[in-house]
Symmetry: C2
């Protein structure tokens, strides 16, 4: 009940609020997220919250920028980029996502990005643009990786890298949603395997060549 944190560390207060707000928004979405719940979780008072973020919307935007975006970068874009070959990188990305979903509780909550996109991007332009940033970066990272793969002779030169990248991001988002609803990771695994299978058609050595 009594706050154990030092009450005068502005940075720590801000970070604590961001953390609790992320949790609350992840569980309940933004609109159903309760500021009082966030304050209860942190032991911070309303005055401090409004001092740091100005409004609930401001807090939401900050969560997207400072928590969700780095999360995607570190968890998915990093591993993809550090792979030796983009096709291996995409497979690794899928496995990484599966690992995440296998953690207890995560399956029920789904993908934070997908959740916020679904809830907010139709009704709040600030959320939409910030989430679009994340999805665009995700897509561009894959697309650039594939283009580099073409240059290095690892990926078939006729591959439309941007279309494939869009396709992969969308498919994984959808797969998360499906698994979330099923309360079962099996649908995700089925999708991931389908995608991994599909990846073979992107390799430089064409299994079947289309007419030129």
């Amino acid at each position: 009940m009594a706050p154990t944190r030092p009450n005068r560390d502005a940075h720590a207060t801000r970070e604590a609020l961001l953390g609790a707000a992320f949790d609350e928004m992840y569980k309940n979405g933004f609109r159903a997220a309760s500021l009082d719940a966030i304050l209860r979780a942190t032991g911070v008072t309303k005055g401090a919250l409004y001092y740091h973020f100005g409004s609930k919307q401001g807090l939401g935007y900050a969560v997207v920028e400072e928590r969700v975006k780095p999360l995607v970068r570190e968890r998915y874009l990093g591993p993809f980029e550090s792979a030796s070959d983009p096709i291996e990188g995409l497979k690794r990305m899928g496995r990484r996502m599966q690992e995440e979903l296998e953690k207890t509780g995560v399956l029920l909550l789904g993908c934070p990005v997908n959740n916020l996109v679904t809830e907010m991007s139709g009704v709040d332009e600030g959320f939409r643009s910030r989430l679009a940033d994340i999805l665009d970066e995700w897509r561009d990272t894959i697309s650039n990786g594939l283009r580099e793969g073409i240059e290095r002779g690892l990926v078939h030169p006729e591959v439309d890298t941007e279309a494939i990248a869009t396709f992969y991001v969308a498919a994984y988002q959808g797969a998360c949603g499906f698994a979330k609803n099923a309360h079962d990771i099996a649908p995700f695994v089925a999708c991931r395997e389908g995608l991994d299978d599909h990846l073979q058609s992107l390799t430089a050595r064409p299994v079947a060549s289309r007419s030129p």
Copy 2:
């Protein structure tokens, strides 16, 4: 302001409430849906609403069962089943979905099923099971169509029909979400074309045969 409907047609009252509730839930999600807004839209009073549905949750469940489920059946499952060949049926399903997204306003709102799945299936078992019904039926319809296609020599016999069906449903849901966020149908089209391309690998005449 004054209700123009006849006030004594129970069935009509119920249907009007379901319609307005669907619209409100489609726009704002279930939790942010306001009963007062639904009442305002219909000219019905709170007493009538609670007489017919008992609770907001009851109204929500009824919307899923009596509006969302039939919508999916009529809009997507019907056309798929009436196609001469499951691969053609899947292509038609994708085009049908694209037509829908091209209607003004729909792109911003996204897919009603995906919206509710994302919002509710983690926090309300009643919603989850009802939405799972819809997604399962969707998947099974495609899976059965593919299996029949195998029997009729239209689809490659080694195709894992259920996995492919899951993959397709998930990918389309994800594509909707992506396009919704982008405020642009292009990502959906990219995904749809990727999926149509992928469909060629399911045909009975194998372009490349795997090792037996």
